[in-house]
Each structure stands twice: as structure tokens, then as C-alpha cells.
Symmetry: C2
Subunit: 197 residues, 2 copies
């Protein structure tokens, strides 16, 4: 049997997603080999992240300021809300430097198979926002999966009575991708989304 402190550390690592028993052992032994200050830095960063990071009360993204830097930015167009599944998606969008509106993070998608309904993701919070602020357009940027599409449709129908335009980002061949290697659904989407040149 491992000494108790090792066994407990292995157990903690094994609780992380995608980390099995053997990986947890490997990580625990790695920690034991590290200098003490490195392990302390790791432990501190865990506690600091948990303590300082909260959900932005406006867009539901993760932030260390309230509201988050994007929601607090008056230069951005608060009339256009881009709806994404996860906080990480905001980063991907921001990298393009093409979007000057604001965001809303759902923290998931509607997925009846997994028991996730509309009340389990941050749709109610989106409704509250549109009541407070004059929102012209909601851009649905959920992923092109069955659940992502269904969530986009659900939100589209939800906001139609309010006269708010709901759009969906385009899907098609990735730039630099080759037709030969694209799957049928992507090609179908690329055909559907064709435009005159």
C-alpha cells in the first residue's frame, strides 16, 4: 500500500476529468519529485483561481472583475450579443478581432440525452439581459453539433415574439481545408450556405 499522503494525492488527481488511476499515480509521483516551491505555487494557483474568479453577472463568463472587461467596455456594441457554449469560445472569437459586440455564455447546450434542459443552462439570464437593454441581434455561435443546433433553434424561437433578430454563424469548409477530407455534413452546409461571387 502507498503511504497515506501519496494515496490521497493520487485519489485527488483521479477525480479530475480524463485522468485515470494510472495517470493519477504518474502525476502524484511527478509532484513528489518537484521542488517544494513549485508544489506550493501549484497549490496556491488552485486556491487563487477558485477564490478570485467568479461568473460575470451580465454575460456569465468567468472573470476576476465585476462585470467582466468586455461587459464593462462602453466602446463595444451592447446591442449585439454573441451566444457561446463555454467561456473558452469567447477567446476564439476575440482572436479574430472581427466582433465588437458583447457575449453570453450558456455553460452548456440543451441535451435531453444527458438530462440537460433549457433551465440547466444560462438562457434565463439571457432573457433578463434583453429585458434590461435594447438588444437588436443575438448571434448563435454554439457548436455545429446536434445539441448546438437544437439550442440555437430553441433560443431563436424563444426570442422571436420579442422582435429580436436571431442569427446563426455560417458553417462550411474551414479555410485551408480540402474538400477531399471534409465530412458530408460540412460539405452539405457549405453547399447550403453558398453565395454569388
Amino acid at each position: 500500500m502507498y503511504a497515506l499522503p501519496i494515496a490521497q494525492l493520487i485519489e485527488e488527481f483521479a477525480k479530475l476529468p480524463g485522468i485515470g488511476k494510472r495517470s493519477a499515480e504518474r502525476l502524484a509521483f511527478h509532484i513528489l519529485k518537484q521542488p517544494k516551491d513549485q508544489v506550493e505555487r501549484f497549490a496556491k494557483s488552485l486556491l487563487a483561481a477558485k477564490e478570485k474568479i467568479t461568473f460575470c453577472p451580465v454575460c456569465q463568463s468567468l472573470t476576476d472583475s465585476v462585470p467582466c472587461a468586455i461587459c464593462a467596455n462602453t466602446k463595444r456594441d451592447h446591442g449585439v450579443i454573441c451566444v457561446v457554449e463555454n467561456p473558452k469560445d469567447i477567446l476564439a472569437m476575440e482572436k479574430t478581432k472581427e466582433f465588437s459586440g458583447v457575449y453570453h455564455v450558456l455553460h452548456g447546450v440543451i441535451s435531453p440525452m444527458d438530462g440537460i434542459g433549457p433551465n440547466d443552462i444560462k438562457i434565463k439570464e439571457l432573457l433578463v439581459r434583453t429585458e434590461k437593454e435594447p438588444v437588436r441581434e443575438i448571434i448563435m455561435a454554439t457548436n455545429p453539433t446536434i445539441e448546438g443546433e437544437a439550442t440555437a433553434m430553441y433560443i431563436s424561437k424563444l426570442f422571436k415574439p420579442f422582435g429580436i433578430k436571431v442569427t446563426r454563424i455560417a458553417h462550411g469548409l474551414p479555410v485551408g481545408g480540402e474538400l477531399e477530407y471534409a465530412d458530408e455534413i460540412t460539405i452539405t452546409r457549405a453547399l447550403e450556405g453558398r453565395h454569388e461571387i
Copy 2:
């Protein structure tokens, strides 16, 4: 950009072996979703393991008592030392309940390709042990890799002048394994190690 505490946590996770940038992000976001007491438990277990676990001064294994429980056990045969690569290997050996001697952990193997020479693993500590105690046999249980074999050979030659018997554990078909699925090296070893029945 991520808020600083998130970026730092991602960075810390990415330092772990086998954890890439994307896995580190996933783990960091998982931590942010956990209840505070769970994150505190994780951080504490990191510090506790690092603080309480040391190397046994005799066998070099990881332990929370000095010397470790196996080295302190007078009922075990201290004249037979089983040499393994890693502390984990001791667990595998102990599960068999067939070995009543003591252990020595090398913490690696000689691997010139990776710049690891005899002085980089705990061979010196093994020499010191054999000087202090009357050792009859050293059983080399390093893995059946090129480096594991080379290390076994090196230690065998090192102890020959001292009149200490150095043996190597047998390699062959695993029990329950099928010839059909065994690799050539394993079959070769199984043939070389054949004995009359």
C-alpha cells in the same frame, strides 16, 4: 486573454507530464466549477504529500516514516535485495506476497540516449548498503527494456568483485497470455528461459 488567475492555473497544469495546453485548459475550467472545499482538499493534498513524503534513506523508496515500513521490518530477509526502477514497482512485487526480502529503488535506469548515467540513479546508495549489511543476493527486477537490461548488466558487473550473487527475474509469456499475440522478443525470452518438466 484569460483573467490572470485562470491563465496561471492553466500554466501550472500544463507543467504536469502528459498534460498539453488544451488538457490544461479543460482541467483549469473543471477546477473553477468545483465546490470550494473540494479545491481546498486538492491543494492541501498536494502540500501534505510534498511535506510528509520523503525518500527512505535505506532503500530510496517514498515513505512517510524513516526508515520505510519494509526496511524497518526485522522479519524480512535483509540479505536479499530486489532492485526496481520506480517506487511503484515495489507495490506490484508486494502484491504477489512471494518476496520476503527488501528493496532498492534506482529511480530510473541508465540511458545514455537521455543523458542518464550510473551516477544519475541510486546505484551508489546500493553499494553503500552492501558495505554495511551482509547481502547474499541482488535480484534485478528492472523492466525488460534495452535500458533495463543494460542497467541489470551494469550492476551485475559492479557487484561481481564483491562476491555478491546478482540474479535477473525471468521474462517470458505472461500467464494467461496467448502465444499468438505475444511479440517476438517475449517469445525469444520464453524459449531461452525454457526448463525441463
